[in-house]
């Protein structure tokens, strides 16, 4: 297993490097360099700096170095945790990302849990009772889930549940996040958690909805395959209760592919958070990246994309590791 994990780790390295090169190249393609963006149009604050002066700043910032040199220098700083400073605020990008990451994680993990809680039972029931009403319902929900844009669902939920019914607030994360509100919950004060839930339920639902289709489909498909396997027939033949066959024998194997899909869904999740976070003014890295792009704050955009890309590669590595632990057959592969 160690060899398998090592091989996966080695395969992750070129992806992470590729991600960083892609981010670097895209950011250099943007017309107008940081110096122009910062000092190109300063007529509202004073006399414009001379071209020589701007050129000296470019030299200082290393913007006149050849691109490969700039890339290596940038990667050295990134490896040391320095993602540069925001062009607007002047503060380190890494700080901005770190302070906003928890909000995004609460939202995306919450959405994932919600999506699993809905799609696993439906997927399992659809496989066990193939062709039944539940199976048709599963197909219906899947088709809706891939056809309804999550951000539009979010708008509709706001119109219905906030504007008309007034059940939930339209957004943003309350002062007390999930972690601290759960701690208060254990101390006997449920108010912060209720408050958190009220704020998070609509963005989480909107995000979770688009993940239902792949999760339901893979659960149903892999369970159907396992249910036909010899060892499941043997378990049935020796007289085990159908429920025991399902939980002790079939599901154990069938849920492993679901894990892979969860890893892949993580990318879609982070993509969806950009849209959902901006709609609900959720203080996560999606909003950070979007606002930075609107304000041409490219170091921030660059940092957000790099962090998200690396996170995605690591999540998939983690999923592969869990996979290897759960499925002993991997060792021989």
């Amino acid at each position: 297993m160690a060899r398998y994990l090592l091989r996966r780790l080695v395969l992750t390295i070129p992806v992470v490097l590729g991600v960083s090169i892609a981010v670097f190249v895209i950011m250099r393609m943007i017309p107008g360099d940081p110096v122009t963006i910062m000092f190109g149009d300063v007529t509202s604050v004073g006399q414009a700096a001379s071209a020589d002066e701007l050129e000296r700043l470019r030299d200082q910032l290393g913007l006149n170095d050849p691109l490969p040199v700039q890339y290596v220098k940038w990667m050295q700083r990134v490896a040391a945790g320095d993602l540069g400073n925001s062009l607007i605020e002047g503060t380190p990008v890494s700080n901005a990302i770190l302070t906003r990451l928890p909000a995004t994680l609460q939202l995306s993990v919450g959405a994932l849990v919600l999506a699993l809680a809905v799609s696993l039972p439906i997927g399992i029931a659809a496989a066990v009772r193939r062709g039944s009403v539940v199976d048709k319902l599963a197909v219906g929900i899947s088709s809706l889930s891939v056809s309804v844009p999550s951000f539009w669902l979010a708008l509709i939920m706001i119109i219905v549940f906030s504007v008309y019914l007034g059940w939930f607030p339209t957004g943003t994360l309350p002062e007390e996040g999930l972690f601290s509100s759960v701690i208060s919950l254990f101390k006997g004060d449920e108010q912060p958690f209720v408050d958190w839930f009220n704020h998070a339920v609509m963005p989480m639902t909107a995000l979770a909805f688009s993940m239902l289709a792949p999760l339901i489909q893979i659960t149903r498909f892999s369970l159907l395959e396992v249910l036909d396997a010899d060892y499941v027939r043997t378990a049935k033949a020796k007289g085990l209760a159908p429920r025991t066959v399902l939980t002790r024998h079939a599901l154990r194997t069938a849920l492993i592919p679901v894990l892979t899909v969860i890893g892949l869904q993580f990318a879609y999740l982070l993509s969806g958070t950009v849209l959902i976070e901006t709609i609900f003014r959720w203080p996560g890295i999606g909003t950070l990246g979007y606002n930075a792009m609107r304000r041409q704050d490219y170091p921030t955009v660059q940092g957000v994309i790099l962090v998200v890309g690396i996170m995605f590669a690591l999540v998939n590595l983690l999923v592969d590791a869990i996979y290897a632990v759960l499925d002993p057959r991997i060792e021989n592969a």
């Binding site: 844009p149 951000f151 990318a267 792009m293 994309i305 590669a313």
Partner: protein
């Protein structure tokens, strides 16, 4: 069963390779399949709704609709009425007319993007799968890298670099959709490559290009066509998402995405400006998904879910 050849038949006879590949060529069953496609089922319903949208997009200028650009301040943000079936937007422009004209932008972005992505994906997937080696590695690692970016963030960065607009949004959607298509074609190519008829073709000295085009390509098309149809649904949704973020087709030209973006500002006072364009996105995406499922049942029974 009469055979219908989709690909031009070559003059060179390649012995047993041809008959083998004809038997394994799923397109030899196409005549029958198209007949079955016309029976009432998911695929047929999908095609019907799609045709309706295509006709709507083409016919938009001659439908006697209100001018989608006519501003009418006194009529702003009106709800649905007989005069304005879908109401009006914040400039008093007729929403029905704007949504129908928006169909043109949204549909052409999706069709152009998926058309390019399908052709490029086919070429890259076939060559990566058939030749493998360093080229295969380069192609596959590139798809890994693209897939490591959330599509919206990747789109945002690219649009920042190349600017918003119709053709740039097409480029972004092509990039986002490519990895899936490359992978599906490569996967099929790897399987077909090992088949006896491909081996036969190679062993009698047929050039690689001939073997790929005549024997491998036809066997990769069924899954590719299904994925392209399903990808169209995603392309429609992506266009609306980028438009919603202000990165797609720029106003005043209407597209479903930028209509949603404008509607969002007036969500509380005039919810119809958000609901209507979104409904169109949902229905069109839904019909592409139906078509994809219908095609999957016909062309690619192995992957039927």
């Amino acid at each position: 069963m009469p055979e219908r050849r989709i690909l031009p038949s070559h003059t060179v006879q390649v012995g047993s390779g041809v008959s083998e590949s004809a038997r394994s060529n799923p397109f030899s069953r196409m005549g029958n399949n198209w007949r079955r496609l016309l029976k009432p089922d998911a695929g047929r319903v999908g095609i019907s709704i799609l045709s309706f949208f295509v006709i709507l997009a083409i016919m938009a200028p001659v439908l006697h609709l209100a001018d989608p650009y006519q501003i009418s301040p006194s009529n702003r943000l009106q709800g649905p009425s007989i005069e304005h079936i879908f109401g009006t937007d914040h400039y008093g422009r007729d929403l029905l007319s704007r949504v129908i004209f928006g169909t043109r932008s949204s549909l052409s972005v999706a069709i152009a993007a998926m058309g390019i992505a399908t052709v490029v994906g086919l070429v890259l997937g076939l060559t990566a799968g058939y030749f493998g080696g360093i080229w295969g590695h380069i192609v596959m690692r590139s798809t890994d890298i693209i897939m490591a970016f959330p599509s919206i963030l990747l789109g945002m960065a690219l649009i920042a670099a190349i600017g918003p607009g119709l053709s740039n949004i097409i480029i972004v959607i092509v990039l986002v959709q490519l990895p899936t298509l490359i992978r599906i074609v490569r996967g099929d190519t790897l399987v077909v490559k090992e088949k006896e008829f491909v081996e036969a073709s190679r062993s009698i000295g047929a050039p690689a290009r001939y073997t790929i085009l005549r024997h491998v390509l036809p066997n990769t098309l069924p899954s590719l066509i299904v994925m392209a149809a399903l990808g169209m649904a995603q392309a429609v949704i992506l266009e609306s998402a980028f438009g919603f973020l202000g990165l797609g087709v720029q106003p005043p030209t209407p597209s479903w995405g930028n209509l949603l973006s404008e509607g969002r500002e007036y969500m509380r006072v005039a919810p119809h400006t958000s609901i209507v364009p979104g409904m169109f996105v949902v229905v069109l995406a839904f019909s592409f998904n139906l078509l994809g499922e219908g095609l999957r049942n016909r062309l690619d029974p192995r992957r039927r879910v």
